[in-house]
Symmetry: C2
Subunit: 712 residues, 2 copies
């Protein structure tokens, strides 16, 4: 692809010099042509002969229009003739138009007649670009027309978009089938259309001053894609780019902060009930093995640790400072931390941006930037990093170590994370509060967790992304190695309004978040529970090696609901079941057990039937994942089922047959214990739900597909 | 509205006599005209003068076509001229068409020239009708065109549809806004369009032999709605209507079955592990106070109860017979039950329709019909009716009495219902297994629960509805008194395929279920957990008196997610908050607490802040429902919050301020106990979830709106 940047620059310079904020139609055309975006052919002629020659070179039909600075209402003047179908018609039209113009205004200065290719047929689509405060340049694609305006069926990608991104856009709209040809109409040329999208995305990326661009409509057909109308808006004074430290510097700082050799508690206290007391207790009782330095203006010792008046008095290097002083004292203390070359400040105190104290928060940011000290918060509960037994928080200590790293923008949600995690005995590597995100945000955490061997999955709650582009770029890379899950709050207009009254975050359009998160390989959770369920289940499940899912169920009724859930979660059942495999399954189940998929082993079966069928499913290489539907009976009690399933899964694992297995348990209360046992032994399982286990498997698949680990 | 039935009858009789299965275009027109459905004006003329006169009477433009049995390809013969715009053009066209026809075929028998009004402009829509095996006649509405074909944006209602139904259809399609006028186009005439829908629905209801009808397109504009094309298919040998006993007979039988004075156990057993033994034990241990008659060929006594060889030997009336004998013995035993005039047989045994033994099941149905004995099952776990302490099942006894009646088509799902109910301590009036539904089905249960004062809400799991129309009719009435909730399994094609391999049920199109259930006031659960959560929460919540919901939250982050959930669940936040009310709330919260709705009281508040704000919300008549977001802190621990909330809700209830309140609890594991306490005291509450409590409130609202209890 060759782009004539100089040509665009020249056009934009002229627009800037003229102090305009939009391009004229001819300027728009020129810009498009410079970037190889097809526009209708056109030209101005000054004789009938020229008109027929030019029109013939374009192909018919053409439209012809008078060109005269003195005639504004061309149609009224008889200066427009559409649908000209031959060289002769074009020649005649030239004479007619000029005659009409003279009749309309005898002294009009006639510069000539414009001949323009009439583009029609094919499918009307829209290709556009916008500038988003968080994500920067985005390219958009949708179908044209009234219906789409009503249905808002438009999809976005970060610009510049790759050819693959662009092709995926054609499939991401609800009405995608229209492009494939319906009612006998020809399918559009996907390559050409995708190419147009790529070129638009490159154009706005190369020229950030293009704030908005609309090709509407683009006529997409089997042969090509032509932009019939071009609208370009410009903004020559965009806001300055957000400061972004180098990735390696982020990682260095974050490692010191999250895995500190020493921690200072600014505002440590001997007084029970004080935050500075809770933080101290959590550090000590959590089992943190590094050095703890309480900072207090008067006390000599706090909870058995020698106290200092200032961090500067500590005769040792400090990595992390946890703040537990009132907001007005933070700035001075932070400065001292900076002078002490502390890597990060955990700013628990509230009373900053969230209460309208923007200035106070900006002061902290200035100090942080000046001294290269990273800020977590303010307005947070702190953080946990379990591999270091580090509870740098005023909340209670957390005790189940594992490989899930969680973060939340909100303290309340953070508490819900802690409660759920503890209740479900979810193994956690970290829980981090981000609060007002004056500095450290989700992408900083991603960079840390990316290289943290203790973390296998990252789950984040966010109300906004201060720098969506930075997040997307990092997430795209990280998510190929470790699943990244996000609960984006403020999805709805109402939610976004609540978000902005809460932390001052202005939520972007949800569709943009949805598209960009998907483009970045991030699995999006739809609800708080789903975030928690995904965080718990995804790291436990092995990555599937293919798309073929088989349901094995004792309850036919569960089989139906599990099948529904598969469709809802984008899972593909192995169908039709290969004859030999079907026959093999039938060997183990009663003659009236249902064939195919779900494999319905029927209700009254002994444990052995579950075991045999599950073993077969795990053994056969055409099966890539199993969903189990258990039905509580006297013959196969819940814990017997659970132990048998864990056994057969482990037996096959030893033989190299490692596949994701999830389970739905229908039965009396004993199934809860069985579900917990299954979960703790590698099989995400839920009592009384056919949906949740399938959602988790679906999320694992979604991640694996995005990470390129599954055949497309 | 006047309908010319005689005219339609005459057309259909002619079609039947001709052994055709579809109507010609003129026949279709005639039928439409007889029912007042507007079609383009047309007529046949035999002179140019007639042509211009007729065309003028219709209004222009018109299209004219040759009418000749000898000319099949009219266009090829030059026999069609479109877009005629004046009387003169029509006259000329007449001559041209006749001349062309003669030129094309000199000896053609020319009957005249058809003049037809050309309908154009406005919005293309589709009005149609289909015959569904379960629901019978359905009327359909959608937008015309390619996009809609792709998006399948069509809505259905039972025919005949009321005017209100028809108007609701215009709002039920995704692209509803198109009808309201977009991009400056005029809105369609809703009354006229709805009238067309009503007329179509009446037509197919009056003439069941009309199996399919399509008006496509209908041109709907500000002035009217004209069906440009009519297609009608007929079927003169429809399947006979399903037998449906009188409602009063159903209720009489169901009352005897569900609240029996005496129960026989056919196949009762002394042998532990046998189903006939489990049923006996459950009857006895469940505390059933009526008479129990074990039936056994040899035993003299079973579990302390005198046994009989046959029900016919029992010297007393029997209401309910629970079957625990193998399938092959059922028919003979059922006949004896019939002769004994037993009201109902609870057919626990499997081995019928679900295993392919259709004949065996049909035999039971014949016997049941002959002796007027109602059949529950076969292939079920039985049923519970807690007000009678009746556990007519082989499952374990159920002990939490309450007002929720549940049923399931599948045994596995039944076990999940029992397990969840027990685990959540949900008060239940009945749990019923319907299995193969050879006779008793969901609408029989609705009729019983409608008049059962022990039941306040009805929740059903179904894979199909054998008689969707009967269900819808009953549900429409019952749901106005008591909420009816349904989990329809087999929503997806994959799920439906699993359903048909499971019980032989062929699931209808899900969109039909969705529309008809909504039309019937039934709240549809999207998942098994949701069915259970709704069943538990809906009866606890008082019915709201208006749409204004207020969120009061200690965690801003929860407020955002709760707001999102409100949108997702069709709830309306009171916005903007009236000034005086806003001011009143602000009195109780810190100055940096957020204004408006959510009311963000901020995190560090004492219990009193929750109490004061909730009291205010309950007291103010402009507020109709409250959603609470709790954030676990030391200052307001979970159980303190819970007890305070229950207190203030009860305090206001005593003052006549009865409003639904739900709660989302974010915090450490102690919030689980608090949630359970809140739930048991009238406030549906969930730990670690912002979605579920709002879903429950949304479901209550959905029901209340459908039941006409809320302003529309």
């Amino acid at each position: 692809m060759s782009y004539d940047k100089a040509k665009v620059r020249k056009v934009l310079d002229a627009v800037k010099a003229a102090k305009r904020d939009s391009l004229t139609a001819p300027e728009g055309r020129e810009v498009c042509e410079a970037y190889g975006i097809a526009v209708p052919k056109e030209g101005v002629v000054t004789s009938a002969a020229e008109a027929s020659k030019l029109a013939s070179s374009m192909g018919f039909p053409v439209v012809m229009k008078i060109v005269s600075p003195d005639i504004l209402h061309k149609t009224e003047a008889g200066g427009v003739i559409v649908g000209l179908k031959s060289a002769d018609e074009a020649a005649t039209a030239y004479d007619t138009i000029v005659a009409n113009a003279k009749k309309y205004k005898a002294d009009a200065n006639i510069l000539g007649v414009q001949v323009q290719q009439m583009v029609k047929g094919g499918q009307e689509v829209i290709v556009g670009a916008i500038s988003d405060d968080s994500f920067g340049k985005l390219v958009a694609f949708g179908l044209g027309g009234v219906l789409v305006e009503v249905l808002k069926d438009v999809t976005f990608r970060l610009a510049p978009a790759t050819n693959e991104d662009a092709l995926s856009m054609l499939d991401s709209i609800q009405a995608a089938d229209v492009l494939k040809g319906v009612r006998g109409s020809e399918p559009v040329n996907r390559e050409v259309l995708a190419d147009t999208i790529v070129r638009v995305s490159q154009l706005v990326s190369d020229f950030p001053e293009i704030s908005e661009l609309d090709l509407n409509p683009v006529f997409a057909s089997a042969s090509g894609a032509i932009a019939a109308d071009v609208r370009i808006l410009v903004n020559f004074s965009p806001k300055p780019a957000r400061f972004r430290p180098e990735e390696k510097d982020v990682v260095t700082s974050m490692n010191r902060i999250m895995r500190p050799k020493s921690v200072a508690v600014v505002g440590a206290s001997n007084e029970s009930g004080k935050i500075g007391n809770s933080v101290m207790k959590n550090l000590i009782n959590g089992g943190y093995q590094g050095k703890i330095y309480p900072i207090h203006p008067k006390e000599a010792e706090i909870l058995g640790h020698k106290a200092y008046k200032s961090v500067k008095d500590v005769p040792d290097e400090i990595d992390t400072a946890v703040f537990a002083v009132p907001a007005p004292l933070c700035a001075a203390a932070l400065k001292e931390c900076g002078e002490k070359k502390i890597a990060g400040a955990i700013l628990i105190p509230s009373g900053f941006g969230e209460t309208g104290n923007i200035e106070g928060q900006e002061e902290l940011q200035r100090i942080g930037h000046e001294y290269n000290i990273r800020l977590m918060g303010p307005n947070i509960y702190g953080f946990y990093y379990t591999p270091s037994n580090l509870c740098a928080t005023f909340c209670t200590a957390y005790d189940y170590k594992g490989s899930t790293a969680l973060s939340s923008q909100s303290g309340g949600i953070g508490m819900a994370i802690i409660g759920y995690s503890r209740s479900a005995r979810m193994g956690v590597s970290a829980i981090v509060g981000l609060g007002n995100k004056s500095d450290i945000d989700e992408d900083d955490l991603l960079l840390f967790f990316e290289q943290d061997d203790n973390t296998k999955v990252i789950a984040q709650h966010a109300e906004d992304l201060k720098d969506g582009r930075a997040f997307a770029e990092v997430a795209k890379r990280v998510s190929r190695k470790k699943p990244v899950i996000m609960l984006k709050a403020g999805r709805t207009a109402m939610g976004a309004a609540a978000a902005s009254s809460h932390t001052g975050a202005v939520a972007g359009t949800d569709r943009i978040y949805d598209d960009v998160l998907r483009q970045s390989g991030v699995v999006r959770a739809k609800s708080l529970r789903q975030l928690l369920d995904f965080a718990r289940g995804i790291p436990i499940l092995p990555t599937p090696k293919g798309e073929n899912v088989v349901i094995i169920t004792g309850a036919g009724g569960s089989g139906v609901l599990l099948s529904d859930a598969c469709v809802d979660n984008g899972l593909k059942l192995l169908k039709p079941m290969p004859d030999d495999l079907d026959k093999a399954f039938r060997k183990f189940i009663p003659p009236f057990g249902a064939a195919g998929n779900p494999v319905d082993i029927t209700g009254g079966q002994p444990p052995q039937t579950y075991v045999e069928t599950v073993r077969l499913g795990l053994d056969d290489d055409r099966v890539h994942a199993l969903i189990l539907g258990y039905w509580h009976t006297i013959i196969t009690p819940p814990m017997v089922f659970a132990r048998n399933m864990v056994e057969v899964v482990n037996e096959m694992k030893a033989k190299g047959k490692v596949k994701p297995v999830v389970a739905s348990l229908a039965g009396d209360v004993e199934v809860e214990e069985a579900a917990q046992y299954l979960y703790e032994n590698g099989i995400p399982a839920y009592a009384y739900s056919t949906e949740i286990p399938v959602e988790i498997l679906g999320a694992k698949y979604q991640w694996a597909r995005a990470a390129g680990l599954l055949p497309k």
